[in-house]
């Protein structure tokens, strides 16, 4: 027995050492090199690593190439699959790996997951911060800006097929919950074979659009609701919760037979196809999908067939969000030269390189120094919503634990939970996320 003890001790010691090594790696956080001196010349001939989505637009890819040409630096791309990019970033991040440039979601609740104050370079001194109103709500956390947001900024709204609505006698598209139910009833009464509202529950995220991102516009004016939930002043399962009434609207639509038959398995791609071929009357999605529509049919057909308008619980307040596409951060890597070059990249794409990007991408600029090009069709309709004074940041921006809302919305959609159970469940997730941040 005694002869076995040393072996056991050795095994446990080895395990302990390995655990300690693992923890040391996982504890992550490269040593801070302090703030970057912007007055110094940016280095050239540096190779920067960028983690970015494999679904980056051509306009973004061209922007990267333009920076390489202008700076003499090279970007070494690490493509992350678009669907799983957030989890892929978390996985690599947790092992202590860091890129020089990170394309990432600039909402405060997503930023918090990467522990910005310890892991990212403060870029508050860049001209971008003064020139972009959006930097107040995106790319900034606790008053410090870590990320730049070029756009496209998505605005959540209701796409509608003009012919289906006209055949149902609807002169204007619905812009609130009550009108949506009435429009559904009108389409059903018109004898049309088209479903009134297309829901792509199989893709999960579309199920959050109608009851969440779009519906919550009224309640989240000025991001008031999201910030109150994040502070713990408001619970999403409080009496009269707007989240619960949004979910209840989904139940009402489902019970009234307004959705497509395959609402639980259909994908968002199918919703766009249904819009174009007139097998559905309406669907709520972000303006990101406009490009997909124009890719699926010629511009004249899309403009003649599909319209885009704002939608919210009561007054049609548009909500918007900046996504990971066109949003960049410079992580602390411990290599001062590369850190300086990474900040130079952020500076260049928001100054010298920005107008070219705006022109090519056909987006509403997020930086005041750039001019919006002439937008047409659905792009112009989306831009109009985005530039409205009452437009508000999406309710997800500040709520910790928002990542669970998709699953909860699907459970309500398919009848697995009631709206009341849904908000109760979500509040538990929110509490978990708030506790994790403390």
């Amino acid at each position: 027995m005694t002869t076995h003890m040393p072996r056991r001790v050795a095994v446990f010691a080895a395990a302990g050492a390995s655990t300690a090594l693992l923890l040391a790696g996982c504890a992550g956080g490269a040593e801070s090199t302090g703030s970057v001196d912007l007055s110094s010349d940016a280095p050239t001939g540096v190779t920067l690593t960028m983690w970015h989505s494999s679904a980056d637009s051509q306009a973004l890819l061209d922007l990267y190439a333009a920076y390489e040409e202008a700076s003499g630096n090279t970007i070494d791309f690490v493509d992350l699959p678009n669907d799983t990019a957030p989890a892929a970033v978390q996985t690599k991040w947790a092992t202590g790996e860091r890129p020089d440039i990170l394309q990432y979601n600039p909402s405060p609740q997503d930023m918090a997951q990467l522990n910005m104050s310890e892991n990212m370079i403060d870029i508050s001194a860049l001209d971008y911060v003064a020139d972009s109103k959006l930097s107040n709500v995106a790319g900034t956390i606790d008053g410090v800006t870590y990320g730049v947001v070029l756009g496209p900024v998505s605005v959540y709204g209701l796409y509608y097929n003009k012919d289906v609505l006209a055949a149902a006698g609807l002169d204007t598209p619905p812009q609130n919950a009550a009108d949506l139910l009435a429009a559904c009833s009108a389409i059903q009464s018109s004898g049309s074979d088209a479903s009134a509202v297309f829901m792509g529950g199989g893709s999960e995220w579309p199920s959050m659009m109608l009851p969440g991102f779009a519906y919550m516009g009224d309640a989240n004016q000025g991001n008031a609701y999201g910030e109150a939930v994040a502070a713990g002043d408001v619970k999403v399962n409080d009496d009269g919760s707007p989240v619960e009434t949004g979910l209840q609207m989904v139940v009402d639509l489902r019970e009234a037979g307004c959705f497509n038959d395959d609402y639980s398995t259909a994908t968002y791609e199918e919703s766009l196809k249904a819009l174009l071929d007139g097998t559905t009357g309406m669907t709520v999605l972000p303006s990101d999908q406009i490009a997909e529509l124009y890719a699926a049919a010629d511009a004249a057909t899309v403009d003649a067939t599909v319209g885009f308008t704002s939608f919210s619980a009561e007054t049609g307040v548009p909500s918007y969000n900046a996504g990971p596409f066109g949003s960049y951060f410079a992580p602390k890597t411990g290599d001062a030269e590369k850190e300086r070059a990474a900040v130079d990249f952020l500076d260049w794409i928001t100054t010298e390189g920005y107008q070219g990007y705006v022109d090519q991408a056909q987006i509403v600029p997020t930086i005041s120094t750039a001019d919006a090009g002439s937008l047409s069709g659905l792009y112009a309709e989306a831009a109009e919503l985005l530039q409205r004074d009452d437009a508000t940041i999406g309710f997800n921006a500040s709520i910790p634990g928002f990542g669970n809302f998709g699953g909860i919305a699907v459970k309500v959609l398919v009848g697995q939970s009631t709206p009341s159970q849904g908000v109760d469940d979500w509040q538990v997730f929110i509490d978990q996320a708030i506790a994790a941040q403390q």
């Binding site: 655990t19 923890l23 947790a94 999960e204 038959d261 395959d262 459970k411 978990q432 996320a433």
Partner: protein, 320 residues
């Protein structure tokens, strides 16, 4: 007998040892056993090293991290006792995901073994036609699980070919096989079973072919029917293959993720959210400690299932 002679004749060399002075008596039994164990240990060493480094240490590290507050929100990792498990329990994830995982594993194991045993009986003889069918049924094993999932998603779509075929007999048939809570879990488990049945079939075929023909022929002469021969002779003698297949399919299914990822993504709602999918979701939100706790649960589930199951199945194995 010399060693060379032993190699030619295949007979063992007498266990004698030489010293300078001539023959000596064989070493004591304990000494011989010790050397034999030591000799075997050298061969086992690579396997032991691999097990320690790729299972033992990660398992211990994972167990430790399960009891820590480790998140993306902070760079420090602190011990938090049972908080992760309590939190997962309050969220309803722990109980639900464990339940879904167990149901998924049982359906997969039963479907795979029943179908594979039937196929093994049908394809037992080694002729050209059976060789072709064995290859055909083995082909899904070579597919990527993600590809298999995507293929079956399309097949089972409401407007897909399976509903189209049923529609030939039931006009207007429309059903979302992967979109209904009542069928989604069963369907993804059956897809998993389809994917791996070819492998299980081969194990059963090799098990059936190791049974001595003389035993079967004796039973035929005694007038035993085909069913009686299968039930009373082949089934008991298949016990080692049965043990291997049941444990492999059951324990393997506890780690399911890829097929679920490519078919239902844990849905509808959380109807197919197995433990690994819950791990993925927690990890994606920067909650690494709770994610480790769920991973630890999978390891525990595998151990508390596999160890007694192997013990029980090995106990009932019979040999010719």
């Amino acid at each position: 007998m010399h060693a060379t002679e032993a190699i030619v004749t295949g007979k063992p060399v007498a266990r004698t040892r030489r010293r300078a002075g001539g023959l000596i008596s064989p070493p004591a039994r304990g000494q011989r056993d010790g050397r034999r164990i030591s000799y075997r240990l050298w061969f086992a060493l690579p396997a032991i090293a691999l097990t320690v480094f790729f299972f033992g240490l990660p398992f211990i590290a994972n167990a430790f991290l399960s009891f820590t507050k480790w998140t993306g929100f902070s760079s420090t990792i602190s011990f938090n006792g049972l908080d992760n498990f309590i939190s997962l329990s309050k969220l309803g994830i722990l109980g639900h995901a464990t339940y879904v995982t167990v149901v998924y594993a049982v359906i997969t194991m039963l479907a795979q073994n029943v179908v594979a045993l039937m196929m093994a009986k049908a394809l037992q003889s080694s002729n050209r036609l059976n060789t072709f069918y064995r290859s055909l049924f083995f082909a899904p094993v070579l597919f990527s699980p993600l590809a298999a999932g995507y293929i079956w998603s399309a097949m089972l779509a409401p407007a897909g070919p399976i509903n189209g075929f049923i529609g030939l007999f039931v006009p207007g048939f429309h059903f979302a096989w992967l979109g209904e809570q009542s069928t989604a879990l069963i369907m993804v488990a059956l897809i998993d079973a389809w994917k791996w049945s070819g492998l299980v079939t081969l194990v059963y075929i090799s098990g059936l072919n190791t049974i001595s023909r003389s035993v079967i022929e004796a039973a035929v002469l005694d007038g035993a029917s085909a069913w009686r021969r299968f039930r009373s002779i082949e089934m008991p003698l298949l016990a080692p293959a049965f043990t291997f297949n049941v444990v492999l399919t059951l324990v393997g299914s506890f780690s399911a993720l890829d097929i679920i990822f490519s078919t239902t993504k844990g849905g509808p709602g959380d109807a197919t959210e197995v433990l690994n999918f819950a791990v993925y979701n927690q990890y994606g939100q920067g909650l690494f400690g709770t994610s480790s706790a769920l991973s630890f649960m999978i390891a525990i589930l595998v151990m508390i299932t596999a160890v007694p199951l192997i013990w029980y199945l090995r106990k009932r194995e019979v040999h010719e």
